[in-house]
Structure formats: C-alpha cells, structure tokens
Amino acid sequence: MSRTLSRTVRAVVAVVAVVTVAALAACGGTGPGGGSGGSGGAVTVFAAASLTDSFTRIGRDFEAANPGTAVVFNFAGSSALATQIDQGAPADVFAAAAPTPMDTVTRAGNADGEPAVFVRNQLVIAVAPGNPAGVRGLADLARPGLKVALCAEQVPCGAAARRVLDAASVTLTPVTLEQDVRGALAKVRLGEVDAALVYRTDARAAAAEVAAVEFAESAGAVNDYLIVVLADAPHPDGARAFVAYVRSAPARAVLAGAGFQSP
C-alpha cells in the first residue's frame, strides 16, 4: 500500500517536474526573438511599433539580399522594448522611436557604440475622411465641442504633442490621453473623436480611413528614430549588417514611402 503510494508520489513529482521544465522551455522558445528554439542564426530586432510595416518589408528585402540570413522582429512600444532589453532579453538590434528609451538602454551599458538617427517622424492631425469637422490647423483643435485624442505625455507621440501645443500656445482639453499612437488613431477611425495628433506615418498607413491635416508647428517637434547594435547581441555580425542595410538606399526608399523623413 505505502509502496504503491510512494510510487504514485514519485510519478506525480516526475510529471510535475517534466511539465514545469517543458513549460519553461516553451516560454523561452516563444518569447521575444524566439530565444534558443528554432530561430538558429536569426538576427533579432527589437523595433518600435510605428516601424512595424516598413521594417517587416525591409527585413524581407534584407533576407533576399543576404541569402542564408534571417531576421525576426519584436515590435512594441519603445519604452517596453527598452525595459525588456535592460532585463536581459536576447536581442541583437534596437530601433527606438524616440531618444529617451534609447538613452535608458545606453545608460545601462547595453548598447554597442553610439545610436544613430536613421529617420525622423512628425505629427499631423488625423481626422475623419473628408474632414467633416473642418480642421485646418492646430488652433482649430481648441474649438469647443471638438473631441480630441492625444497620446499620453509618457509616450513619445504625447511628448511631441505637448511640445507643439506649448510652442503654439494652444490650450486644449483632450477627451483621452491614449497609451500609444495607434490607440489615438483607432479613436479617429471609430469616429469616437473628431481629431487626434498622430505621426504622419501612422496616418498614411491608415489612409483609407483617416485624412491627415498637416500643420506648420509640427516642424518644431520632430521625433528622432535611433538604431543601435546591442552589447550582448547573440549575432553581432548579422546585427551590424542589418543596421547597415537599414541605412542603405533601398531601405531608405521603403521608409520614405511610409512617410518617414531622412535625418
């Protein structure tokens, strides 16, 4: 009786151990960058969410230009990515949508060399197609009754919005301070707000559902995108090749097509 019980116990313990190890291994394998599982020699790029469309294309072009190499992406908010990198995520390249998250990574000693500005982005006013509210410039956003979404000041698009509004001395009370630029854009797409300050690239990506109103003050809050090879890169050579490719003519053409400006 007691022998059967102890055998059962041992079996249960073994199962628990196996399941735990398997679960941990699975987590590692499917985590950002693919970890050790499957991705082999792939270059892991942590890139700002706003680079999703263009970097996916650039990654494919890079793989085509360099047979045998592979690139995998982890797209998220730059600050979240910076936190992941500083907590030891196995990444090769970091492309941030603003200097602040890049500074976090450099200060923690996780960057290999100086980050380089590779593109710039600036704000436009996103409105419903046909601009039914008749928004012509920044000052119109302060009109009573007009519902405006901004990004929260903690995220780059919100900081940029604060800078342009302050510079233009426009005071407005937004109905919401969104967690990221896509959130602000979604509120315009759904018709919940009349206007939102978003990046030109985001407005262009959603061109079917939103119209972009350019405004002069936007030049006062241009956002620098930086890219760097990481100090603990598992594939430093591939990482350097990818960064070089991002700054080459074909990649610049893709980025320009998405609405980014050259530095």
Binding site: L5, T8, V9, V12, V13, V16, T20, G77, S79, A80, T83, T100, K147, A149, A152, Q154, V155, P174, V175, T176, L177, E178, Q179, G183, A186, K187, L190, G191, E192
Partner: protein, 278 residues
C-alpha cells in the same frame, strides 16, 4: 466542490474539523509549487520597490485620484453585476428554457474575449456611431465613451461572467427542496428567492462578488479602449501603472504595490466578515 451539507437551521456554516493524518505528498508538492508560482512575482515587485521614496509617492495627488477612481468604479461595477448578474444566474440555474446552453456559453464570452476587443465591441455598441450609442446621442444627447460611466460599463462587462458563474454554481449546488418547502408553505417565487434562495447561496454570492470586484479593479484593456485615459475621469490604477511603466519602472512598481495592498486588505476584511458571520 464541498457538498451543501450545511444545516440551514444552524445559520452559520458548520466548520468540519480536519481529519487526522498526513497531507499526501502527491498533493503537497504541486500545491506548494502552485503557491510559489503565484507568490514569487509579487515578491519580485516587493524586492524592486523603492522603499525610500515610497512616502512621497504615496502622497502624490495623482496616485490618490487614480486609486479613488479605481475603488469607486470597481465597486459600482460590482453593484451593477449583482443587480443584473444574480437574476441571470438564477435564470440559468432554475428555469428551463430553450437555448439555455447557448445562453450559458454566451455569458462566458467576455471571459475569453481579449479585453481590448471587448472595449472595441463596447465602442461599436455604445460609441458615438455605435448601434445604441448613436440613438442615445441623438435622443438624449448622451455620449458614453471617455466618461466614468464608460469605465464602470467596461469593468462590468469583463467582470460579470465571474459573478454569474460563481452564483450559478452555488445555486446548482443548493438543495432545491428548501425552495419547494417554502413554496408549499405558501411563499411566492419572489419571497422564496429573497428569503430562501439568496441566504442559501450567500457564500457563493460573496465569493462571486469578490472575484467580480477584483477583476473589475484590475481591468485595463477594455477600459482604456472604451473609456480612454484621462486623469480623474477615466484613469484607473492599472492604466496609471501602464503609463508609469513607459517612463519610470519604480513608479509603476509603487503604484502596483498600492493597488495590491489596498485590494488585499479590502478582500481579506470582507472575506472574514462574510464567511465567518457576525
């Protein structure tokens, strides 16, 4: 799990003494692993907490505003869930009607729906151009998105299934003969419900309400999507935590600890009161 073996005449639940004997290792090991797995991340938060700057962060009016809003909206959402969810649970447990299985499955949908999608769904119904929202706007000049009401609705949408499932489970576990006895003694269905059924399922109801409140308190995705984020109006603690994470990991840790402490204190306090009786 435990059969409804309590004697209704005794009022307070009977505490059965644990049988002597060793705890089987086959249960102890996974139980300990489970506990460690749940507690360790909280320990990680505690380890990273900047204790030195804690007092000044606690006194930050922005933090208190978010905390107050969170407690208020979670409580209102729980009340809304009780008001609508308990009758729904009763219907599912006690009334035979065609399509009951489908209705029961529908009730659990918000559980599996990613909360952000839930928020979009709420916008599509209650938004300015939503199915009902457009009518609310034109008929009453009422727009829900970006209001505190929207926060309550988003939290209730996500949390109600927890309450309904818990209460329905309790109702199915409760012996219907007590209700039948009440009916034989001349009580109507409503009287039976309020005087027999509800007291019978009180522990399940309390557990469901606690789960519901806790889920509402932690709600993030549906809230930020449907209600947006504006300090004092729709910025709840989880949203404040998320935004703090963008710039200041320590601030995010502090905010999380405040939310955790407050909720644990409230839940522990309520639980003792509800489950041990006066």
């Amino acid at each position: 799990m435990t059969p409804a073996a309590t004697d209704p005449a005794a009022g307070a639940p009977v505490r059965t003494r644990r049988r002597p004997g060793r705890v089987p290792v086959a249960l102890l090991v996974p139980a300990t692993l489970g506990l460690v797995f749940l507690v360790l991340p909280v320990a990680g938060l505690l380890a990273r907490a900047p204790w030195a700057t804690l007092p000044q962060r606690l006194a930050d009016p922005a933090v208190l505003t978010a905390l107050r809003l969170s407690l208020l909206t979670a409580t209102l959402a729980t009340l809304l869930c009780l008001l609508l969810g308990v009758p729904l649970a009763w219907l599912l447990a006690r009334v035979e009607f065609p399509g009951r299985r489908v209705v029961r499955a529908l009730v659990t949908v918000p559980l599996v729906l990613p909360p952000v999608v839930g928020g979009v769904a709420l916008l599509l119904v209650f938004g300015r151009r939503g199915l009902l929202g457009e009518w609310l706007d034109s008929a009453f000049g009422l727009t829900l998105p970006f209001t505190t009401t929207a926060v309550v609705l988003a939290e209730a949408f996500v949390a109600m299934p927890f309450l309904v499932i818990a209460v329905e489970g309790a109702l199915r576990g409760a012996d219907p003969r007590y209700e039948e006895a009440a009916a034989t003694l001349g009580a109507g269905r409503w009287t039976t419900f309020t005087h027999v059924t509800l007291p019978l399922v009180a522990p399940g109801l309390a557990a469901g309400a606690v789960l519901c409140w806790a889920r509402a308190l932690g709600e993030f995705g549906a809230t930020i999507t449907f209600a947006g984020n504006f300090p004092g109006r729709t910025q709840t603690m989880p949203i404040a935590v998320y935004l703090a994470l963008e710039t200041d990991l320590e601030a995010a840790v502090v905010l999380s600890l405040i939310l955790l402490t407050v909720s644990v204190v409230i839940l522990a306090g309520l639980r003792d009161r509800w489950l041990t009786g006066p």
